[in-house]
Amino acid sequence: MNIVIIKYNAGNIESVNNALMRLDVKAEITGDHNKIRNADKVIFPGVGEASTTMAYLKKEGLDLLIPELKQPVLGICLGLQLMCSYSEEGDTRCLGIFEEQVKRFIPEQGKEFITKVPHMGWNNITNLKSDIFDSSLENQFVYFVHSYYAAVGEHTAAVCNYINQFSAALHRDNFYATQFHPEKSGTVGARILENFLKI
């Protein structure tokens, strides 16, 4: 199987590659359009800021390529947010694969010192519906680090609750995305990656 991790100006892409290596799967990290287009599976990871990252994707023509892909694509963290239509972070128009919008977490008044932002740590995922999940994963804890979230909408494939409910995962056709980091979520995360690779 030919797996490509999209290379762009985002942090910690190697950690996804490390997680795949732990599953004995070899992937190529590349920004090459042909290689991405011809891969069996594409992973679109990312840690960073939305507007500068979108600007980079545009410069590289990846903003046109990614939404056209036909094979299974998995966005992770910022990858999920960039696959949405719009992000409040830097007032950014994103790829529009999911109609959901990305907003900043705003703690309820008086709770700023309890519900801290970023949402960082292990939280549970519920209401799972996508083939990257299976029944064993309902209510399991996964690792999140983010200050912005995709609202719950038509393409929500997993729900998490922090300050408000939000999309822990999205799924539409061949496009999958997780707000959490499967590559850092222990055996639960490894299972989600395995499920994606089996699609």
Binding site: G11, N12, E14, S15, N18, A19, M21, R22, V47, G48, E49, E112, F113, K116, V117, P118, H119, M120, G121, W122, N123, N124, T126, N127, F141, Y143, V145, V152, G153, E154, T156, V159, C160, N161, Y162, Q165, H181, E183, K184, S185, G186, T187, G189, A190
Partner: protein, 260 residues
């Protein structure tokens, strides 16, 4: 259409973090930072803790030499390959390029301590370049008559800084978490500095990791309730198998604390 009225609960888990001190590529733990004993291979030990349910790991490099630094970066690369949970690395980070090397090697976060006291702008620079989520400000402090002085060099040297104002300053400069070690409690096994931790939790909008004083499982119950900490860090009680992580986690769950 998706049903927006879903039943979900607020479940952000309290974190259990074993800390591994590293010297020349080996795990050590100082009792009050002196009389160090070696307790094993960091990658092996870290993987074991991850498997047992540790939520994060901290690796602190206490090697001072240039050669040792290179060994540590290599070690971080091995940790990143083998370990499937987030980990923080600290020790000897005084410039952006030190942090950059550790990020490239696969560290999820870095912790800075003495270097930030000497040069507070380092916090701003790191946060700006790598994001706040990458920057943990570690503070060692010693209290006397309710006044807490920030110390450096493993607690040996007092500074001009006061604990709470320094924590607040760290937050406003862009630190993503505070790791507070009470030098009064470290190594005593009599429990964490819960009063000071609670005060800190109430004044910061970033998570607080409690360190120093863990001796039994009830100390963790206390630090998450009275101390309002987001995470509890310990070393020797895990390394010397005085508390097993699976036992600790089921005990905390039985006390109604949200635990993964």
């Amino acid at each position: 259409m998706f049903d927006l009225e879903l039943e979900t609960e607020f479940m952000l888990a309290k974190r259990i973090i074993p800390c591994l001190d590293i010297k020349d590529g080996q795990t050590v733990k100082g009792i009050n930072f002196v009389n160090i004993k070696s307790v094993g291979d960091p990658v092996e030990l870290g993987a074991l803790y991850a498997e047992q349910g540790a939520d994060e790991l901290v690796f602190l490099d206490i090697t001072a030499t240039h050669e040792g630094r290179k060994t540590f970066v290599e070690l971080v690369r091995r940790i990143a390959r083998e370990i499937n949970i987030p980990f923080t690395v600290g020790g000897g980070i005084s410039e952006l390029k030190d942090a950059d090397a550790l990020l490239s090697a696969g560290a999820d976060k870095i912790s800075i301590n003495s270097s930030a006291v000497r040069n507070p702008k380092l916090i701003d620079d790191l946060a700006l370049n790598f994001g706040s989520q990458f920057v943990v400000l570690a503070i060692d402090a010693r209290g006397e008559n309710d006044f807490w002085t920030v110390t450096v060099n493993g607690g040996r040297i007092p500074t001009e800084k006061e604990l709470f104002s320094w924590a607040k300053e760290g937050e406003s400069r862009g630190a993503g978490e505070i790791l507070f070690t009470s030098m009064n409690h470290d190594g005593t096994k009599n429990g964490f500095a819960n009063k000071e931790l609670a005060k800190m939790a109430d004044m910061l909008r970033i998570p607080v990791i409690a360190s120093g004083g863990a001796g039994n499982m009830d100390h963790f119950v206390d630090v998450f309730t009275e101390g309002k900490a987001d995470a509890g860090l310990a070393a020797s009680i895990f390394h010397y198998k005085e508390i097993a992580i699976p036992d600790l986690k089921s005990y905390l769950k039985s006390k109604g604390i949200v635990i993964r």
